[in-house]
Symmetry: C2
Subunit: 199 residues, 2 copies
């Protein structure tokens, strides 16, 4: 026995969500059918709208349905001399939530990963070079993840900055606030010692 | 900073799925936007189709888009003398997967729960009484969950069967196959002893 065709299709559809397998998809499908048909209809509509209309910002490559995202469209922030390079829109949100950084962004939408066939063109390097060529950017802050790929990407972009005479800086790596030294990995501790500052 | 309106709506929409909070919804939204727009569009369509067309089977109350579900529409199974009563379509699927039971079903779509305001009419008792009145059912197998509400529901239906001179039976409770006695709760063990059979 299987579920009726429309229910089977719904379960198969829900499995395209990350982290959702057969059982979770069944639970979601029946939850929506039993308790939240309105929510499901509105989700159906938002999925359609987002997939049809969300494109990349022409300037920083983040996701947006407009030509430019809110930050790039801002006359002050969009032409700011400091540019922060991040891997994803979620990283951009995390930085925005600190309300510390007031410059513009460039979103790679990934990182260099030759093994997966992701080269410089896939992470917007031609667009970034264009932006640097204009001469408005004075400093590029590299906020890619502290992983092997993130570090390689940061180094690649630092070289690009050198070519265009733009200062490149990397966010600090060290012991996170609230962390306990006892539980912090050796790599992070090594970075924390190497990056020590005079008090 | 927030995401653009369409992305925020998509994230809010995904949060109506059970077990999905803000962070998971963000992860799902960006995963779909970056890697699976086609899958998302097809999910949007299946959600719409299922919510608009899936209703309850006129006979057993399970979910289906037809007038009768596959089992009720089957000329042999749909008029079978043995009826199995379950709480949900998922329970029905679990029993069908054993391929042991060849009779018909009645799906309560819940269980009696006075504290949540769920009474006999909400779990289809009038429809079940109607079905029993027709005289075609000889035995009702009560396969509700072994919880307080499931047991109460089973007792309620057993009384209804008595009124209509139909045999009511309850599935056996005991030690599950592959279980180890050491780790089985006292309640289950008590049931296993009380329900012992002569060899």
């Amino acid at each position: 026995m299987k579920f009726s065709p429309l229910i089977s299709e719904l379960i198969a559809g829900l499995k395209c969500l990350p982290g959702v397998g057969q059982k979770s998809a069944q639970r979601m499908a029946f939850h929506l059918l039993e308790r939240n048909r309105e929510g499901a209809l509105s989700l159906s509509q938002s999925l359609f709208n987002a997939m049809e209309h969300v494109k990349h910002c022409a300037k920083c490559r983040t996701f947006t349905e407009s030509q430019l995202c809110d930050i790039c469209a801002d006359p002050i922030r969009g032409e700011h001399a400091t540019m922060c390079v991040v891997e994803s829109p979620q990283d951009m949100l995390a930085i925005e939530q600190t309300a510390e950084f007031k410059g513009r962004y460039f979103v790679l939408m990934g990182h260099l990963s030759p093994i997966d066939g992701i080269g410089p063109a896939d992470i917007g390097m031609p667009e970034l070079a264009n932006e640097l060529k204009k001469g408005a950017v004075e400093e590029v802050i590299l906020a890619t993840n502290p992983t092997v790929e993130g570090e390689a990407t940061a180094h690649y972009i630092a070289e690009l900055c050198k070519e265009h005479n733009v200062i490149a800086s990397r966010i600090a790596h060290g012991v996170p606030f609230g962390g306990e030294l006892e539980y912090i990995d050796g790599n992070t501790l090594t970075h924390a010692f190497a990056g020590r500052k005079a008090l």
